[in-house]
């Protein structure tokens, strides 16, 4: 994963509270077996409206999503963060997030930015008024800046562990593999009776006995 110090870019405002994961990406997209390519599913229901903010040409290339309270509630499907990432977002700013959703974001390199409600409102207003308004999320200083909104170096909240992973470009797997030596030691002392699998794909049998 890429290391992230700070993100500066234009933003897309989604001015609604309690946007659930089914709004972020409808359930039909869960049938896909791939892990990327979910950008077309992002807010798919809302995008049918030509006036929807994501359909505005001047919003293209935005890297920051500004959202309302309790963003990402509902089913814990991991497809929702995937869709946001695939669309090109790098950070989500909101007054609050659903827990599981917020925890899932850093695993794929997305920054959850929990910003106080008043500053959020100001940023929302500024980026709604002008699509070219730049917003900066500084992960090292842990601040948000949107000069047009009068929001300058305002601190935000993020779990320390998530911040560490994002700054160092590490996912949870990297963190676990930092303990490779300890895992190895455990592997050496496992009891003798632990079962093993054989690595083989079992061949199919003749289909003659199958009805219909």
């Amino acid at each position: 994963m890429d290391k992230i110090d700070s993100i500066t870019g234009t933003a897309v405002p989604i001015d609604a509270s309690d946007v659930d994961t089914d709004q972020i990406i409808p359930a039909v997209w869960m049938k896909r077996v791939e892990r990327t390519g979910f950008q077309d599913g992002l807010f798919a229901k809302w995008r049918r409206d030509p006036g929807f903010v994501l359909n505005q040409p001047e919003r293209r290339g935005a890297t920051i999503l500004v959202a309302g309270p309790n963003f990402g509630c509902g089913s814990s499907r991991e497809h929702a963060p995937w869709a946001l990432r695939d669309y090109g977002f790098k950070a989500i700013i909101a007054p609050s997030f659903a827990d599981i959703f917020r925890n899932n974001l850093p695993n794929i390199g997305l920054v959850p930015v929990t910003l106080d409600e008043a500053s959020c409102r100001k940023v929302m207003a500024a980026v709604t008024a002008d699509a070219a308004t730049p917003v900066t999320v500084d992960l090292v200083a842990r601040t948000v800046t949107c000069t047009a909104a009068g929001v300058v170096d305002v601190p935000f909240v993020i779990e320390e562990n998530a911040r560490y992973r994002l700054i160092n470009g590490k996912d949870l797997i990297d963190l676990a593999l930092d303990f490779d030596e300890q895992i190895r030691r455990h592997e050496e002392r496992r009891p003798f009776w632990m079962p093993r699998t054989n690595g083989q794909v079992e061949p199919a049998f003749e289909l003659s006995g199958v009805e219909q």
Binding site: V33, E34, E78, E187, F192, V201, F205
Partner: protein, 464 residues
């Protein structure tokens, strides 16, 4: 040191490092076709390998058709999923029992069947009903897709130890009641959030007398009480089931392992975070009337009146459930018109379940207007049942005899309950839409399902 619970002991034996959220080693990772494709793709994208393919096993169960198994499958998505699973397993060296292979079956059925589920293990799968394996005295729980990738890459998971809960089941259940009725009675008593944050250990005379198959049914449904998982300490019943299983230890190893396993039990004075004691003396067959497994009553009883419920949240839920189910307060359970009967799933798709159902069915005919199907939990179970002639009992009565898979438990493969109609099902979830859009599910035991198919109404046995 304070006396330990079984879970504390197994947990301690698997901690690699950490406090609070600990890194624990996973002894067996079960993989199915729905929650694994993105995990394998994640490995590919990051250039990672499966750390321990020798501790990983895959099968196809959720999406496989149970009627025709002619390949290529007509369903495009199903076909791609199955092909991709074969490709992933070949590429990463993972043992796979694909559709139309002798070892194929529901993931939670084949693990124990092969002897891959043993006492003292940690077992995970991208599926909530992994708790089934706890019946052998293993710590077994369901995980999400990114955790599947984590286990594939590291053979570990970082997590906090669940709280411990003892559910002690006393008394002697009635001869008509089965492990499924015990499971439903427990959830009825403690609620669908009664076990939240806990790993439940089941103890007591009801458990001591329960078969291995029954214990799997009970642990399988522990998560429907909100628990992370359920488990039962191994005893003679466990060892008798495991002895001679393909992947279980053999010969001198078997004797040594068995001696060690017999020490896998909670200390008599172990302290649990929560203790529940239930007297199940005389328990009769149970049935769900609502849209969660806690909305359960006696099968010879009536639909409860929400107005009589003291808790406003439960009352509101009951009103909504009755609306969805199209039922009236006070309506006799026996009056509910059933259109579909499903016998199968990782809860009740084992040989013992099929035998129990066949015993009821023998010599009778499925009532008019009822579609009834039997879906064995695995190919081996299907063949054993056929060797015993059970399939003839079922087909002669008018049941459909299907190929193994999850089928109507989750209704992903095209096996669905018609909208707005009622089904008697031996599966584990009666949520809105679980068995198809608008489906109205009543969870029951295999015997009750069989009696229901014959009598055309919800019943635990045949009226003579």
């Amino acid at each position: 040191m304070a006396e330990r619970t079984l879970v504390e002991r197994i947990w301690a034996e698997h901690v690699i490092e950490g406090t609070g959220e600990e890194l624990i080693f996973i002894d067996m990772h079960l993989v199915h076709e729905i929650t694994s494709p993105q995990a394998f793709e994640g490995l590919r994208d990051t250039g990672r390998r499966v750390r321990r393919p020798d501790l990983t096993i895959a099968t196809a169960d959720h999406d496989v058709p149970t009627s025709s198994r002619q390949v290529p499958l007509a369903d495009e998505i199903g076909r791609r999923q199955l092909m991709l699973q074969i490709r992933n397993c070949r590429e990463f060296g993972v043992e796979l029992h694909p559709m139309n292979s002798l070892g194929q079956g529901i993931v939670h059925v084949i693990g124990p069947q092969m002897g891959l589920t043993l006492p003292g293990m940690t077992i995970v799968c991208g599926d909530s009903h992994t708790a089934t394996h706890g019946a052998f005295g293993a710590v077994a729980f369901g995980i999400g897709t990114s955790q599947v990738e984590h286990v594939l890459a590291t053979q570990t998971l970082r997590m906090a130890k669940p709280k411990s809960m003892l559910v002690r089941l006393d008394g002697t259940i009635s001869p008509q009641a089965t492990a499924k009725d015990v499971a439903l009675a427990v959830i009825r008593a403690i609620g669908t959030d009664g076990g939240t944050g806990h790993l439940i250990e089941f103890q007591g005379p009801v458990i001591d007398r329960m078969s291995m198959e029954g214990r799997m049914t009970l642990c399988n449904m522990a998560i429907e009480a909100g628990a992370r998982s359920g488990l039962i300490a191994p005893d003679e019943t466990t060892f008798a089931y495991l002895e001679g299983r393909e992947r279980a230890p053999q010969g001198a190893d078997w004797e040594r392992a068995r001696a060690e396993w017999s020490t896998y039990r909670s200390a008599p004075d172990a302290v649990f975070d929560t203790v529940v004691e239930l007297d199940l003396d005389g328990l009769g067959p149970q049935v769900t009337w609502g849209t969660n497994p806690g909305q359960t009553t006696d099968i010879d009883g009536a639909v409860p009146d929400p107005a009589a419920l003291a808790d406003p949240v439960a009352r509101e839920a009951a009103v909504r459930a009755l609306d969805y189910m199209g039922l009236r307060p006070g309506q006799r359970i026996a009056e509910i018109p059933i259109r579909t009967v499903f016998i199968g799933s990782c809860t009740n798709g084992r040989l013992e379940d099929l035998r129990a159902a066949a015993e009821v069915v023998k010599g009778h005919t499925v009532a008019d207007g009822i579609t009834a199907l039997v879906v064995p939990g695995s190919e081996k179970i299907k063949r054993q049942a056929e060797a015993e002639g059970l399939h003839e009992v079922f087909t002669a009565a008018g049941f459909q005899w299907r190929n193994p898979g999850c089928s109507m438990c989750i209704a992903m493969n095209g096996d669905v309950v018609e909208p707005g109609t009622h089904a008697a099902s031996t599966s584990n979830r009666n949520f809105e839409g679980r068995q198809g859009p608008g489906a109205r599910t009543h969870l029951v035991s295999p015997r009750s399902a069989a009696a229901t198919a014959i009598s055309g109404r919800l019943a635990a046995s045949l009226a003579d």
